[in-house]
């Protein structure tokens, strides 16, 4: 049954996306670890980590597109789930440092030491175990999303109201995590990680392994998401996106549908955050910033909302652009990026993937007979009658 579910989502586009990911998962390790450094085909580990980061963002975009593109929930707070997943992983990595911190305290992370904490707070318990942290990567964002969604959807908060309270949520979390009293390292966050699952986090092989893990997570999430969308549940989601009350009058309990997609999406975002942290080496409250969430929305819009592949494409392209411009045009890159966003909205209303759709849709227009599929009683001769 599970297999059938995954197969259901496998259309041509999914095939392309998954093939690309498979190629990445094979080619990148080969090119960075086995191709000699002076070869033009060599990929530096720096590039691998960068690609890994883009793919984490892609996973976030995918998660966001699932709720925005398919059930019309414009979340301006998805970075919160991303960051929570990241913190769960960051806490594990912090605990892995053990006595190697600057104060050499085997129990407490450095920031707790110099703020005079004497014992590990309860919510840090268990994070020295990878399995526990990995579970929390899903459970914490998922549970928050579930609770938040349960209330919000029951109360029928929709549209901008929902968007803005998701923003309020992430903003509140931002402020809370800023507080040193919270025990998450305040503004400095969690950083200076040493190793993961016993492997040196700086080692090339570890970095490549993290990259491959990211590709795998993205591929799996993509399959889950497209499976969901292709199912009847997916159709219900799309239906309630524009006409929620009509769906209700048809007997569907729309709240549970939204809650399902919302929670699933939050878990995916959490995984994205968890993979992001070891690759960039820091997690700090600014990941909760409303602007981060808005940026994620923008990746989706650039790539093409409501096309899972679009979110991925948008996230990768926008972030590549950002990486490139901030180095190449440090004083002007905002003009370039801002201009890009305006241009995409004006000229590519359906995003980059939509462009592809537009191009393919335009082609047959000239060749094919321009007839409507026909009024109810269309007869072959009807068209020949004159007035």
């Amino acid at each position: 049954m599970l297999l059938r579910f995954f197969l259901m989502g496998l259309d041509r586009k999914a095939g392309i996306v998954l093939s690309i990911l498979a190629v990445l998962a094979v080619a990148v390790p080969v090119m960075s670890l086995w191709v000699p450094a002076d070869s033009p085909f060599h990929l530096s580990v720096f590039t691998v980590s960068l690609l890994g980061k883009y793919l984490c963002f892609a996973l976030l975009a995918l998660a966001l597109d699932l709720v925005w593109g398919y059930c019309g929930i414009l979340s301006l707070g998805h970075a919160a789930f991303f960051a929570l997943g990241g913190y769960a992983m960051g806490m594990y990595l912090m605990r892995q440092i053990g006595p190697r911190g600057v104060y050499g305290n085997p129990e407490l992370p450095d920031f707790m030491v110099f703020l005079n904490w004497t014992e590990l707070p309860w919510y840090w318990w268990g994070f020295d175990q990878f399995w526990f942290a990995a579970l929390m990567v899903l459970v914490v964002p998922g549970a928050l999303a579930f609770a938040f969604g349960w209330f919000a959807f029951r109360s029928r908060v929709t549209g901008v109201y929902l968007s803005i309270i998701t923003q309020a949520l992430t903003f509140a979390l931002l402020l809370a995590f800023f507080r040193n009293d919270m025990g998450f390292g305040g503004n400095n966050g969690l950083t200076d990680f040493k190793d993961i699952l016993g492997y040196d986090i700086q080692a090339d092989t570890t970095r490549v392994a993290l990259f491959v893990a990211t590709v795998a997570a993205l591929a799996l999430s993509y399959m889950i998401a497209s499976g969901v969308i292709a199912s009847k549940l997916g159709k219900v989601l799309v239906a309630l996106r524009d006409a929620e009350s009509r769906v209700r009058f048809m007997g569907y309990d729309t709240e549970s549908y939204k809650l399902f997609a919302w929670t699933l999406s939050a878990c995916m975002a959490g995984v994205a955050g968890a993979l992001y942290v070891p690759q960039v080496g820091i997690i700090n409250p600014s990941e909760f910033a409303p602007a981060s969430s808005i940026e994620a929305v923008i990746w989706v819009a650039v790539g093409g909302r409501g096309t899972l592949a679009g979110g991925i494409l948008g996230a990768v392209l926008v972030n590549m652009g950002k990486s490139y411009f901030t180095g190449a045009l440090p004083e002007l890159w905002l003009f370039a990026l801002g201009g890009l966003f305006v241009a995409v909205t004006l000229f590519l209303p359906k995003g980059l993937l939509g462009l592809w759709g537009q191009l393919t849709a335009k082609l047959p227009r000239r060749s094919k007979a321009t007839a409507l599929p026909g009024a109810p009683t269309a007869t072959p001769t009807a068209g020949q009658k004159g007035a």
């Binding site: 803005i164 309020a168 402020l175 808005i294 819009a301 801002g338 966003f341 909205t345 004006l346």
Partner: protein, 545 residues
């Protein structure tokens, strides 16, 4: 010979300063070395000389001390003479501090300012207070009384008593009596006082009833005074404390109102572009910023061409900011937004892009650092209203916010333009078919919202950074306010802004600013659960469908 010379000199002085008020006083001569001493020995030397000068109690030195306070007192490097110097072009015009005789001009390098630090500033206020208790100017006497109250300078007691006897103005006399009570209760005078005197002083202070009085009363209550006085002090304390608690609550309300007005101003433009037009306008903050920079530019023009009229700069900045931000808004609408009607979510993407561009443009033109926007004198400082301290700047902002709100309300509800705006935003094609020129209405509406944001920028420039990031700080709050109040309802924006402002200000003292803000956000989330369409929800079939 020597004697004759001295006579001659004295004569010269008398002749030269025959118009000066204090010249005839023979003690003026004795002051000279003390004045001279102000200029040597660094801060401590100046302080010592100052205390001796004020101990002399001669009103003639008031101008000298005032010059010292204003930073106009210099040492002439050539001969070490202490002079008053005022800048005139590149050079300084020198006058004698005691005789007011003109001493010619000197280049900047030839004089050196007598520097003062905080300790000196305190000493100056104290001595000016004591010296000006008898001033003919009522305002000066009043601040003198306050200064003495603060310094509790026992040496002023005698003058103070004399001044009280002479004082006609009841309010000033009360202030002087309070100052006297303060001296009596705290200095060494306290030990020589009878219970009745103490009682009288306690009553005077209880009548003053503010925090300063409370401190003094506490001293009495914990001092070695008799039990009866202690008791009466204690009861005075509890009365004062009650009064203070009452005023503190009122003060919080005022803070809430004033924060609410700032939120209102920031949000009200958004209530038009977002609330009425449905454009998720992420560039709203940048419109506010442009308004603030317009204020800066207008002030630069005033600073350069008409520094005397600087107080009017804000009044000029208002229309200017409205036009500049409004113009930018119209340009944005015509070039970008108009292609996006019917695709509201995409306005988010485009306006976000625009906000990045605008920020960077301002950063490129004006630089990344803060720009100075000054406050006109009528917006500076504060006044007391009962136990409230109300700053003029905030007061004007409150008034301004309400005025803008009222004007917008009238424009939208009572004019043909307002009706067209609403018709167009509710059903653009149909409005067009009815004969409304939707393109023009759209442009003007977006321009109006942006222009109002620009007005907000003028006001915010008075209390916040004028930097390229200015807008970013307000955009989230603005969206919260509009949504909390109910999208599309101006009254909702008003009540929403004031509510959030007040809640914030009542939470802040207990929870602290950070936690307070978190609590407000949680409050918004919970509130929206109860009222999913905001405080002033639009109701009816059209919205529910």
């Amino acid at each position: 010979m020597r004697r004759a010379l001295r006579w001659l000199m004295a004569l010269c002085v008398v002749v030269a300063t025959s118009t000066a008020a204090y010249a005839a006083d023979p003690r003026a001569i004795d002051l000279r070395p003390l004045v001279q001493a102000l200029g040597s020995g660094g801060y401590s030397g100046t302080e010592k000389a100052l205390s001796q000068l004020s101990a002399a109690g001669d009103p003639a030195i008031v101008p000298v001390i005032e010059a010292l306070q204003a930073g106009d007192l210099f040492v002439r490097k050539a001969d070490g003479a202490v002079v008053i110097a005022r800048k005139a072009g590149d050079a300084y015009t020198l006058t004698d501090p005691l005789t007011r005789a003109a001493l010619g001009d000197a280049p900047a390098a030839a004089v050196e300012r007598i520097r003062i630090n905080n300790a000196l500033r305190r000493a100056i206020s104290a001595s000016l207070g004591a010296l000006t208790l008898m001033s003919p100017d009522a305002g000066v006497r009043r601040s003198a009384a306050d200064a003495v109250f603060k310094s509790r300078d026992a040496s002023a007691l005698e003058t103070l008593t004399a001044a009280i006897a002479k004082e006609q103005d009841g309010r000033i006399r009360a202030a002087m009596e309070q100052a006297r009570a303060a001296i009596l209760l705290t200095g060494e005078a306290a030990s020589r006082m009878t219970d009745a005197d103490i009682q009288a002083a306690v009553d005077t202070l209880a009548a003053r009833g503010d925090r300063d009085a409370l401190v003094l009363l506490n001293m009495v209550a914990t001092s070695g005074a008799s039990d009866i006085t202690k008791k009466s002090a204690a009861s005075a304390i509890s009365t004062v404390e009650q009064k203070l608690a009452f005023w503190a609550a009122l003060q919080n309300l005022w803070y809430g109102l004033s924060l609410g007005s700032v939120l209102l101003l920031a949000a009200i433009g958004l209530a038009v572009t977002f609330g009425v037009m449905g454009v998720i306008n992420m560039a709203h903050g940048e419109m506010v910023m442009i308004g603030a920079y317009t204020t800066f530019l207008v002030q630069e023009v005033f600073r350069t061409y008409a520094p005397g009229l600087f107080d009017l700069s804000i009044l000029v900045a208002l229309p200017a900011a409205f036009l500049v931000s409004g113009g930018v808004g119209i340009a944005i609408e015509r070039s970008v937004i108009r292609w996006l009607y019917g695709r509201p979510l995409e306005t988010l993407l485009a306006t976000w892009g625009l906000s990045l561009v605008l920020q960077q443009a301002v950063r490129s033109i004006f630089g990344p650092t803060n720009r100075e926007v000054g406050a006109p004198s009528w917006m500076s400082g504060a006044f007391e209203l009962g136990g409230l301290t109300i700053t003029y700047g905030r007061l004007w902002i409150v008034i301004f916010a309400f005025a803008v709100f009222a004007a917008l309300l009238v424009a939208l509800k009572r004019t043909w333009f307002g009706l067209s705006i609403r018709a167009v935003t509710q059903n653009r094609p149909m409005a067009n078919a009815m004969g409304i020129r939707t393109a023009r209405v759209d442009a003007l509406t977006f321009g109006l919202g942006s222009g109002i944001a620009g007005l907000a920028g003028v006001a915010l420039s008075q209390i916040d950074n004028v930097s390229p990031n200015l807008g970013q700080g307000y955009i989230i709050d603005s969206f919260m306010v509009v949504v909390f109040g109910g999208v599309g309802n101006l009254w909702g924006t008003l009540v929403g802004a004031l509510t959030l402002g007040t809640i914030n200000k009542f939470l802040e003292p207990y929870a602290g600013a950070v936690l307070g803000k978190i609590l407000v956000l949680i409050f918004i989330i919970l509130f929206i659960q109860r009222r999913p369409r905001g405080l002033f929800a639009l109701k009816g079939r059209a919205v529910e469908a």
